[in-house]
């Protein structure tokens, strides 16, 4: 689905964050945010605004800009700052039609609450985990939502709305170094309060989660022996032996319909 020409005049804002490599921990372009920028670029390449709140790691910001944007907006704030009120103030004056975010940050608390808080404060509808935005007609956007197990769901939502972009969205384009260096970063210092609640938390490197043990709650030696030696079995399902193939096929189909896999 290619977005039509009317969608090109859409105002889209993509929120970007500083990502983190899961193994080395090095700062990088966050995967979901880069997908959000990619989605924004396909929707409207001249009206896309890239927005970041934080201290603004220069190399990471430049790697986002290297995707082909001439400039971005940086709301400068300390590391411990609370991004939500700052973003709300900014978006109230510079309201886009579509606000794109990632699902979850790659560093810090990574609660995934930001899009929900923004939607609640701005009073906009929110669609989570989208894979694609199709046509936008008469202020209604057709959105494809990513579901578990590779499934998709079509959704219609009224503009303006907030959407979090899933990993199922199109891969972000490669970042070009030179254009990234030449692009402009529009610095805006903002006064925002610190995240007070978070200062009381303790952070430590992740511990390995203990694996759940299979506890055999057998009362007798015979039961324990059976639990250790018996093959896993479903406890005896229904067996159709004598029926004709048509009846058997009907039984299978009934189960598939009941489970909702055949529609």
């Amino acid at each position: 689905m290619q977005p039509d020409l009317s969608a090109k005049s859409l105002k889209v804002t993509s929120l970007i964050s500083v990502g983190q490599h899961p193994k080395s921990g090095r700062a990088r372009r966050a995967e979901q945010d880069a997908r959000a920028v990619e989605l924004g670029l396909t929707l409207s390449d001249d009206q896309l605004e890239m927005l970041h709140v934080g201290s603004g790691d220069k190399t990471v910001m430049r790697s986002y800009l290297g995707m082909g944007l001439p400039k971005m907006t940086l709301l400068k704030q300390g590391d411990r700052g609370d991004a939500v009120p700052v973003l709300c103030d900014y978006l109230a004056t510079h309201a886009p039609d579509i606000l794109l975010t990632g699902v979850r940050a790659e560093s810090g608390e990574a609660s995934g609450m930001l899009p929900f808080l923004l939607a609640e404060k701005l009073g906009w509808p929110l669609v989570s985990r989208i894979a694609e935005i199709g046509e936008v007609n008469d202020g209604v956007a057709e959105v494809l939502q990513a579901l578990p197990r590779g499934q998709r769901r079509a959704i219609k939502v009224r503009l303006p709305f907030v959407a979090s972009v899933d990993n199922a969205a199109a891969e972000p384009r490669q970042s070009a170094f030179g254009p990234g260096q030449r692009a402009g970063i529009n610095d805006m210092p903002v006064a925002g309060g610190d995240d007070v609640v978070r200062s009381g938390w303790e952070e430590s490197p992740a511990r390995k989660k203990p694996k759940r043990l299979k506890v055999v709650k057998a009362k007798t030696a015979a039961d324990r022996f059976k639990a250790a030696t018996a093959k896993a079995s479903g406890g005896g399902g229904k067996v159709l032996k004598k029926e004709s193939p048509a009846e058997q096929a009907q039984a299978v189909l009934d189960l598939l319909i009941e489970e909702g896999v055949v529609r």
Binding site: S111, M113, R149, R152, G200, W201, A206, G237, L240, L256
Partner: protein
Amino acid sequence: MSDLIRRDPRTEWIARNRLHPLHGEALFSTSGHPVGDVRGPSGLLRKNPHGVGFIGPNGIKRIDRLAIQLGESGPQGGQRRGAKAAVEVQLPLVTVESPDFYVVAVLDMVGGRLTGHDKDVLGQGHKLVAATEGKGAVVAVTFGDSKEEGFDKAGVDRLIQFRGEQYDGYSPEQRVTALEAVERELDPEYWLFPDSIAGGQELGCRLAARLGERPATQAWQVDAFTSLCRGGSQRIDISRETPRLLLLGEECADQIDETRHEAVVIELASVPASLSRIEDCGAVDVDPSQVPLGEAEFILSAGNGIHDWDQFHQAAETLRATEGASRVAVDDGFMPRHRQVGATGTWVTARVYVAVGISGAIQHMQGIGQCDKVVAINSDAGCDMVKRADLSVIGDSQQILAELIRLVESRQQGGAEDAA
């Protein structure tokens, strides 16, 4: 009658003969001791070792301790042999009358059934109830129709089911409105959500934003005071005070498996309808062959019993199932290697797995260990796959697949006519 005490040689003989059917009574009349426990002279309860057990068919004395522990009546000579030992044990019922507080767990119910994650969350609910003063009840909230029958064994004290077409499909706004009604009515001590992609995370975040709570997310070790939460990229743990609203990771707590609970259905007074700005246009057809085998929901798998491969591919296409294969089918070159299910191939997580002509080698069974419903189509009624399957049809797979294709096609045509 004279007062002389006379010996009864016959009874003594029977008492000596352990194989005699009257041995127990004879023993009692000669020794004066009952078969079971005896009160000793000092008042101690003594076991009569000659009284317990029974004589096996080869004349050796057997003591059936299983029957005693199962609370059945004492063993009777030889009759226990071959009797069914495994009797369904009724778990003790836990009742909470007029609870002081509620812990509300909002469940995913993927496919209308409790997931493992849901059960973990319910277990965590009971852990929090135990750690809090007063009597508490764990309330489960579900949306849409459910097929679950094991709410009581999963630890649900109270159950709130929101049914109706306004809750079907993607309806987060209406669901949050319903949860707000729960908040007003029950004022829960804790709100628990599974932090899952099946909808729990989204609903939890929405409610947290609506209520102005700051949730603990990806929490994996929670007690009444502190919660340990996973941070971004799974690289840090955050230790924080336990908030009122928690999004729990998988395996956060042990599941309930030793008690039964009431699962009393609560009806809420009324839930206001919310203004919906999101319209669900239904599921989009996805090419099932593009879905990775490991996360496919519905797999049609072929094994050595398939002879007509064109028909099998046609069946998979008609049913819109992802294709899988056993190792034999792959080794023989009928299916590509990346379609292999089992220990050396892909470990699948399908909700419904249809095995056609697969007898079920142990490596294959390991690969389908996480599948919910297994259907076996096989000509051998004694194979392992039939033992594992929830529904098995025994017969020629070619005929059954042909019938299945015919049925599905006629159903689709009928559906198209209805829609037209």
